[in-house]
Symmetry: D2
């Protein structure tokens, strides 16, 4: 039995609590939140779980083995460090930390203490991303041509991070998972419409050594919700529409073959246009799969894909977007 405490019961925390509540071998001991009202909500849904307002009651409790942290990003480092110092494994909401230095310090600490870190990149455990990974692993798509993602909707404005730190980590984690080639540079541009110092509309480009490009369009001011990723491959092309209830992933047997040109301006292009195929996706709840793996990772040291090093790589890219934004969209080497 793993005893777990959860810090943060705002937007995402309740989902973590609900998922942990249903996992075999987990005893969810306490939930912590500073906000008024959180205690009523927890007690109403889970009368048997302890509630506290001071996170030290969790990080320093001798009866707790692991801590899940679902608080604003700027607090992650302090909470995670205290948990690690007190011999707790940690599960940290994405993005892992506010900067690279913090992430590295936590990784060092966990290494020394032989403790586990998992960063909550839930999307990696959805049926959609697992199917994409499966296709990539058997080279069904061929070489990557581009990865193009649009994540826009109205709100939810975050208090302490801009729209890039809020929405881009999803795609960065997915790319980190499915694409072997490493990004070499990044650029970002955006606008802060409300004078908060935090962009609400932004565009991020990631450069690779090969002829591959990734691009993320993120926006908190869109009247419609779009969650659309296009992945171009030399063999097949894939469209992931996450707001489609039934057919999230479509694979197109489409492509282009440039056969060379007979002299300048005489390009010979062959377009291939075949069937489309929408594989059935596993509908198991991603967060539950992820948390079960966290527990298993603690117990048996099974390999995980979203460890602290993965979290760090995402933070390195996010930190680079900050640099690029400050320099008006300059391309920043990674």
């Amino acid at each position: 039995m793993i005893n777990v405490g959860v810090i943060g019961y705002g937007y995402w925390g309740p989902n973590i609590v609900r998922s942990l509540h249903g996992i075999e071998g987990v005893h969810l001991t306490s939930v912590c939140d500073k906000k008024t009202g959180a205690i009523e909500k927890v007690h109403k849904s889970y009368p048997d779980i302890n509630f506290c307002r001071d996170y030290h009651d969790i990080t320093r409790s001798s009866g707790i083995d692991a801590v899940a942290i679902a608080t604003p990003v700027f607090t992650h480092f302090e909470l995670a460090k205290d948990a690690l110092l007190n011999e707790k494994h940690i599960f940290v909401e994405k993005p892992f930390t506010s900067n690279v230095k913090q992430a590295e310090e936590l990784l060092d600490l966990a290494d020394k203490k032989k403790l586990k870190i998992m960063v909550d990149h839930t999307f990696l455990f959805t049926g959609a991303v697992r199917k994409i990974k499966e296709l990539v692993d058997k080279n069904a798509l061929g070489d990557f041509l581009y990865y193009d993602s649009t994540r826009v909707n109205l709100g939810l404005f975050q208090h302490d991070i801009n729209v890039i730190w809020d929405l881009v980590p999803h795609d960065l984690a997915i790319m980190d998972y499915i694409i072997k080639d490493k990004p070499v540079a990044i650029s970002a541009k955006g606008v802060d419409h409300f004078g908060r110092g935090l962009e609400d509309v932004a565009y991020v480009t990631v450069y690779f050594e090969k002829n591959m490009i990734a691009h993320f369009n993120v926006n908190w001011l869109s009247p419609v919700k779009i969650r659309l990723t296009l992945i171009g491959g030399t063999k097949k092309m894939l469209v992931w529409n996450d707001v489609d209830a039934d057919e999230k992933i479509k694979i197109y047997d489409k492509g282009v073959k440039v056969k060379g040109a007979e002299g300048i301006y005489k390009l010979l292009v062959d377009y291939r246009s075949g069937d489309m195929w929408a594989p059935r996706l596993d509908r198991s709840e991603a967060l539950k799969i992820e948390l079960e793996l966290f527990v298993k990772h603690i117990k048996s040291n099974c390999p995980i894909i979203n460890d602290g090093y993965s979290g760090l790589r995402i933070i390195e890219m996010l930190e680079a977007t900050d640099k690029s934004l400050k320099k008006g969209g300059k391309v920043v080497k990674l």
Copy 2:
């Protein structure tokens, strides 16, 4: 009666011929194309129209008043110049020319000769763009927050221009038409996947003085066709989905009001979420409206929105994207 000759009978030329054929007061005298097969096509559909292979037969014909040029971009300047030198008004396919110098030379020439130039930005005459302009003119959207466009599909690869010069002129012309503020800088990044020296996937960002940003996602390698433009305004937000047969324009009574923050990290945001409204759009054929205006402009000097100066402004921005691409995405001032 205005006598018109058309040069170029490839992809777009047949549409120009068909539209001119139905306009009162126009006599379509000749069509010119070098390609084998074009003559049969013209004769089959229009047995009464002359056909020639040498464009000088049109530009230098004494019986022709105006020339429509629908050839590859790299030929526009030569053909347009010859037409102007021979006292013909010109209607030129977009983009106007291959560079700013050419556009300026044509404008000078037309000024001296008192001849008319219209650049074929057909989209400006669609029911959708005319409705957007109408809404902007009565300030229905409020101040612009962003203009975000995605134009992707499989092919058609152009021989002499990259995907930016092919697809972005549509949005640049629309922005030039509906947005008073002038762009101050531009950046572009892209990938050429086939070693042709011409990008097939690209992203362009346009910067304005105020807190407004424009972004264009263009791609010849997408398995699906998307023509989606989001326009964020302080009062209302607009979505233009050009592949929706029936409801291309949707106006959302949605918005965000940041009420200030009680201390750091306590942002108070009000989201406004009201009705959506899809106005009926005029379905008249845009190209026909445009060509009728071209004829009227020649006859009566009525004002037009897509004159050579408008064409030049688009070319200035396109030329700047070339500079940015060469410097790896650097922001280039306009």
Copy 3:
């Protein structure tokens, strides 16, 4: 405080329990179900609620004021009658009973005992139906021309009722609510593909005195889920697409005016095609609104739209579909 017991914890029961659990002035005392496993589920989610296997523990408990019945249809009558005989108000899952006779007996009993009956036609309390009712009340649609509904998906096969009794009550209740004119006849045809004596694909037509027709397409064997209702009016036309997350209701300013004919075969028709408008809908949970009203109805006798008489009218129509089915689709007068 109203003390409520719930009988049935299968598909819909848990939703009733969850909703009741959050309503002020309600004390949810007990849940009853015969199925193995139900007790664990209830205890896991609601450790403070009693659980029983014999429904008499609820219907005959002196500490209970009202009973919610969410069991298979063939059990409704027995349970409801026992509850009424023991002085409980009842909230009964739709369809109310298995036949008209049962419904009438329950209504008589409730009348004598001065007890309340509410039939759970949840759809009446959705934002969509409330908006439709609002539009109808101010005559925004004009006179009804037709009501056309398609409710198809794969499963869930019911054990004791056919697809008509499962899905058509939704539309019958909505029609009963929004249309003043009373149906005069009904016909139904369908197919039982699995030899169970229960149709899984069916079509129901409802006839009115005036030139109005209603039609319901219901199907448990469709590969796609469709929940689409078209309502034609002389002034406006309405489309309710319940699987559209954001724009469930669209009102079209479209119509037809037949101006008479100049002699036979010379029909003059005017088509009106104006704007479309998608009103913002209240997203409050329908079931919670309905249950709050049930409690208020018990306390203060406030009027309700889905009382037992409404439930009876639906059963009358359902019983008529049975007759029609048995006679191969014959039109049965109501």
Copy 4:
């Protein structure tokens, strides 16, 4: 060379003329129409085609081998008979005739004269229907469970036929083509909202011996255009959405298996939910394929699927819908 004349240049006639114009081995000699304005349209587009106002100039011309008839339905018989009497093969717009008697008389006449009849069921030659036929032929769908079609839109009101005769022939012809089992009965109900004696909203059900049902929902008063056909099979299920530009046909690996019941009310159902697959469809123009086959049929007597007997079978079913409508929706045996 086959010499063809076309009678009727209203809605569909121009498409026939355009298609015939491009077919090898066809000489389109004359077009006939009584309406003012038709002659200008024909001359503008086809200066080399003769035009006449009296159809006898076509049916009785010695220089014409075949006649295409694209006039209102009530005129088909008179024109077709005159053409056959004058030794012309005929291509007749659907529905073939106004009643069974007329169709039989034309078939007799053509048999005696050894002339060909093709009825224009264009849909049979679309990429979508050819793909469906291909799937059915290799038993990919298994046994048919149901055929469910919705064809609704605003207008176009026909002058001489009701909405059933206008829209249902499409589906009847497709069913006649793909389903071996023969319909045994039919019922129809509908409403005439404008006192013309012609229904504008109607529902038609077709019964088969086996556990298969077909249903058609047709409506000239719908604010939205729907062209949706669901075909349920025991192996696979198919959705044909004809207004989807790119993925008209989707095949779902979905199904239901009822495993029997352990006692009453304990149904054991297995739902199978697998991948979806959208085959690439041939985009060749259906009408051109059909007319090429008509010409080939005349020349070489190659087999065709839409001969006069096929046309007759459709008319038999349409005539039965008339009977059913008159008797208020009664089921009429075929």
